[in-house]
Every structure is written in C-alpha cells, then in structure tokens.
C-alpha cells in the first residue's frame, strides 16, 4: 500500500515522497484536501501525511470530511504542519500522530513505519 501525501508545497511533496521511496515505500502526492478525497474514493493508503494550511480544502476541512465516511475513517493520519507545537493547538483532528516542520527524515520514517511496510 502507498502513503498519501497531502501538501500544497510542491518541493515539500517531492522531498517527502523521495525520502519515503528511498526506504522502499510507495507514495502518491496531491496538493489539497479535495484531491485527496477524490483519491480516497478509489484507493486506500496505509497512512495519510496531511499538511494543515492548504488552499481549496485545508487539513481541518479534509479531516472533517473523511471522518464521516466509514470507508476512510479508519485510515491513520499523520499531521505535518509548520504551526504545530502542542497537539492541543490543533483541536480534535483525531490524528494518529503529529510531526512539526521542520522535521527530520528519521522522525518521518519512524512515524510512517508504524503504519506501512516498505515494498522492498
């Protein structure tokens, strides 16, 4: 299964995806919540890496939407944000984990490895 990366920053998407791929994970990148929801209609990733501040559909709106859909409600979400310091700042995102930017590759891989197994 792949990792779904939802981030409006192209460089960030690319860097996240490359880091994961170098460890044998597969990833799909989208740039906002709406695209993520479209993707989730057809696929079920092992984990979603979710940025919070994005145009069209931000992380909070996106998080509110799939929670109502039983098909995707069970997919773990790792929130990656530049605005995180304490989890309580982000309200009830029901996230499986929180990663604060700037984040280290080690921390990222450790968090993802909890939910996804590398293909090779």
């Amino acid at each position: 299964m792949e990792v779904l990366i939802v981030d409006d920053d192209a460089a960030m998407r690319e860097a996240l995806c490359e880091t994961l791929e170098l460890q044998g994970h597969r990833c799909v990148t989208v740039s906002n919540g709406r695209e993520a929801l479209n993707f989730l209609r057809e696929s079920k990733p092992c984990v979603i890496l979710l940025d919070l501040m994005m145009p069209f559909m931000n992380g909070w709106e996106f998080r509110a939407a799939p929670l109502k859909d039983p098909r995707v409600a069970g997919i773990p979400v790792l929130v990656i944000s530049a605005h995180l310091r304490a989890e309580k700042d982000e309200g009830d995102l029901a996230a499986a984990g929180y990663l604060s930017k700037p984040l280290s590759a080690e921390r990222l891989l450790e968090a993802v490895a909890e939910w996804c197994t590398p293909a090779a």
Binding site: A11, A15, T19, L22, A86, K101, P102, A105
Partner: protein
C-alpha cells in the same frame, strides 16, 4: 513690656517705712506747733495717714493711724503731760482712730480698684498686641495666598465663594469681585456638576480631599483640567463652616500623559506587529526548511550509496547549516510565544543528567572541532517535572555559548542537587563577561560582544532565562573578563 501693679512696684518695707516716717513727722510737727494745734491735735496725723495711704495703700494708712494715736497719747505735748486729760479728749482720740480706720479701708479699696484697673489695662494691651500680631500674620498669609501660583479659593458650605486669589483669576479668568459672593458652581461643566456635591459632603464631614482631578470651566467657556486639594475651614468651636480649595492646572501634564499613553500604545502596537511578523515569517520558513532538510538527507543517502565521500561531506555541512537556520527560526518563533505568554510546557518526569549527556553528545563534534571538550560531572539522575525539549534547549544554548566564546578551552558541566533544587553549571574558560554586561546579556537582542567578531542575534540567553523562569527556576552568571564564565541554572526538582 509688662507694667507691674502698684503694690508690687513699691516693696512693703518702703511703704511701711514711708508710713512710719509720715507718722513720726506728723507727731513731731504737732508737738512743735502744739499751742497752735491744741484744738485739733490729730490734724497733721490725719494728713499723714492720707499721705501714707496714697503712697502705700490701706495697710500703711492704718499703721499711721495707730502710730499717731499712740504717739499723741504719750508724746504730745510731753510724755509727762498726756494730751488725754478729759473724756472729750478721749472721744476725739477714738474719733481719729475710727476716721483713720475708715480712711484706711477706703484707701485699701481704692488700691484694689487701681490694681484691677492696671491689670485690665495690661490685658487690653496684650490683647491689642495679639490682634496686631494676628493682623500681621493674616497679612503675611494673604500675601502668600495672593502670590501663590496655585489658584486658592475659599467657599462656604453652600458653595458660595468667599476668597479668590490672583492665580484663581489667571486660571479661571474671573476677577475676585466677579466670584466672591457667587456660587462656585459656575465653574462646573455639565459632566462634573456632581463633583462639588461629593467634595462638599466630604468637607462637611471634616475630611480633606486631595489631588482630585476634574475638569473646570473658564470664563471664556474653555475647559481646563485641574487637580483640586480641598480642606475644611473650621470656626473656633471646631464646626466646619467652609472649604479652602487649591486648584492646579494640570492640562499640560494631562497632555503629556495622553501623549505618553499614545506613544506607549504605538510602541506596544509596533512590538505586536514585530512579533506577529516574526511568527508569520518563522512559520513560513519552516516548510522550505523541512523540504531542504529532507532533500539533503536524501542526497546524502544517495551519495553514500554511490560511494562519493566528498559529496557526502559537503552535504553534511549543508545539512548542518539548515539545522542552524532551523534553530534560529525557532528562536524567532519563541519571541512571539514568550511575549504572548503562549509558552506551553509539556512537563514530564525528566532527568537533567540524561538531557545534559544527550546535548553534549550531539555537540561533541562541534565542541571537539573548536578544541573545547565537554566534561560532565554528574552524581547520577537528577529528576524533575520539566519540559524535556525545552530543558534540552536550555542546555544546548548554554553549551553553544560555551563553545562559541571559549574555543580551545575545556568546558565543564556540573549537575547536582541542592535544597530541593536541581543545579546545572556550565563553566567555560572563555572570554568572560564584564560585570556591567552580566545582567544585560539576559535581555532580548542584547549582546556583550561585537557583532563583527561573533555571529548571533542576541536571543539565546533571553530565551534561556524565559524557559528557566517558566519552569519556576532561575539563571545567573559569574564571570570575569578573560577568565571565563559560569552559568548557573536552578530548577525546582523532585526530592531524591
């Protein structure tokens, strides 16, 4: 000058001596002219007693009476031929003594009256003196009141003006004759009519009203900010009969205060804008920093796989710079958090010794590179309820400074426990800090060294102190220029 009463002015010996002399003189004269005075042998004695009475009062007069009576009996015309030779002569003697006694009583009464009169005169003179002194004092006070720079106004309990000095004329624009006898309420603005009632209520209770700031109306209709001090005026029985008011024009001070307030608001607003900018900028830096950090990580990994040590080394250096940039960004973000009181601590049981060892290990490479090996002197775990990452920030900041300002000198880190406090000492042998700078270095954007010689934005120690304070601890420094510094952090710790 005081005038003495007449009997005090003439001593008794003089008055009675005079009486004796007068009696003797009258007897001698009567004896000498006895043939002429035979029919009235007491005539000269009577004159003598009147004279003694005039000179010495009732007592000497009566003494003369007795002396003359006795002398006449035995001496006139001669001791051997007494004057009392018949019942008629004896009656004459008795009449003289009676008349002399009566005259003496009258003299005594006259003297008492004279004395009372003199005392009354003296009292009247003193009263006049007191009145004169009071008038002089009053004139002096009036001159002070008149020359005062503060407006001084007298009024009765009905609020009718009774006194109005020159400064009051200048302040309010009304002449004394326009105000005296008129209600003070003409100085009140619509919004401050209640002031006077409040003030008069307090005054009638005998209280003073001090530095009461309000607005008054000038004759020309303009308003003036005044500070009033009002005291009750009491009559001699202690009853409050009016009020004395001192009014000072505080418009200028008010204006300055308003200006100061405005500047303060502007400064606060500027700080808020700055902090908001730092916060936004800091957050905006985080995403590219995160991307850069991951990219360098990935490139490094590839270079290692491809066996390109030179590239690996370059990429590691680049990663260190990204990490430094990330730390600076976090420092900038901390300004906003601390200023806004949003520094949330995630307290958990944390071992200070472990935090110190981890930080020292992380910094080992840079410390060794600058020739400052870190030695740790710790007895064992020192545990407290602290925010681990913030504590790490404190230790890292102090270690970074020790490396930065003491290259080539070893660094000693001591961890211990003292009276319920965990103690952390970071001791370097670096350039040291002058006494005048030792408190300043904990301020925001303050640096004790030239920015041409040492990089940095002057936030590290300020943030360190804020973090330590947020934990309920304290940080201090002992230092001597040229000999190094000892930064001592004390944090409330759990009992071991």
């Amino acid at each position: 000058m005081t005038r003495q009463s007449p009997d005090r002015a003439r001593p008794a010996w003089l008055r009675y001596g005079f009486a004796g002399a007068a009696a003797a003189a009258s007897l001698l004269a009567t004896r000498a002219f006895y043939p002429v005075l035979q029919a009235t042998p007491f005539l000269l004695g009577f004159v003598a007693l009147l004279g003694a009475g005039w000179f010495g009062g009732g007592g000497p007069s009566f003494a003369v009476t007795l002396l003359v009576a006795a002398g006449t009996l035995f001496l006139i015309p001669s001791p051997h031929a007494p004057v009392i030779t018949s019942a008629e002569a004896f009656i004459r003697l008795l009449l003289f003594v009676g008349a002399g006694g009566l005259a003496s009583l009258l003299q005594r009464r006259l003297w008492a009256s004279r004395r009372e009169l003199l005392i009354a005169l003296e009292e009247s003179r003193r009263s006049r003196q007191v009145a004169e002194d009071a008038m002089i004092e009053l004139a002096r006070l009036a001159a002070i009141v008149e020359s005062s720079d503060d407006a001084i106004v007298g009024k009765n309990l009905e609020g009718i003006v009774t006194a109005w000095n020159a400064a009051a004329e200048r302040l309010f624009g009304y002449k004394a004759e326009e105000m005296i006898g008129h209600p003070i309420s003409r100085l009140m603005t619509e919004g401050h009519k209640n002031d006077m009632r409040q003030i008069l209520t307090r005054i009638s209770r005998g209280e003073r009203v001090e530095h009461f700031e309000t607005i008054r109306l000038r004759k020309d209709g303009s308003e003036v900010a005044v500070s009033l001090s009002v005291s009750p005026v009491k009559d001699p029985s202690g009853r409050v009969v009016g009020a004395a008011k001192i009014a000072r024009d505080v418009s200028e001070r008010k204006g300055l205060e308003a200006e100061r307030e405005r500047l303060l608001r502007e400064a606060q607003r500027a700080i808020e804008v700055r902090d908001a900018f730092l916060s936004v900028a800091g957050h905006e830096f985080r995403t590219p920093l995160a991307a850069l950090s991951l990219m360098f990580h990935n490139w490094g990994l590839r270079a290692r796989t491809e066996g390109d040590p030179k590239t690996v080394e370059r990429i590691d250096k680049a990663r260190q710079q990204v990490e430094r940039l990330a730390r600076l960004t976090e420092d900038l973000l901390d300004i906003g958090r601390i200023s806004a009181g949003r520094l949330d601590l995630r307290r958990e049981p944390t071992d200070l010794t472990a935090v110190v060892r981890e930080a020292a290990e992380r910094m080992e490479e840079s410390a060794t590179r600058s020739g400052s090996p870190v030695e740790i002197d710790a007895p064992g775990p020192v545990v407290g309820e602290w925010d681990r990452s913030r504590l790490d920030q404190v230790v890292t900041n102090l270690l970074t400074n020790a490396v930065k300002f003491g290259p080539g000198r070893p660094i000693l880190v001591r961890v211990g426990r003292e009276n319920g406090f965990a103690e952390l000492s970071v001791i370097d042998g670096g350039i040291g800090i002058a006494p005048a700078d030792q408190e300043r270095i904990f301020e925001r954007f303050e640096r004790a060294v030239s920015e041409r010689s040492y990089a940095g934005i002057g936030l590290g120690l300020w943030i360190t102190r804020q973090l330590v304070n947020a934990h309920g601890g304290s940080i201090s420094v002992e230092s001597e220029p040229g000999r190094g510094s000892n930064f001592l952090v004390r944090l409330p710790a759990e009992a071991s």
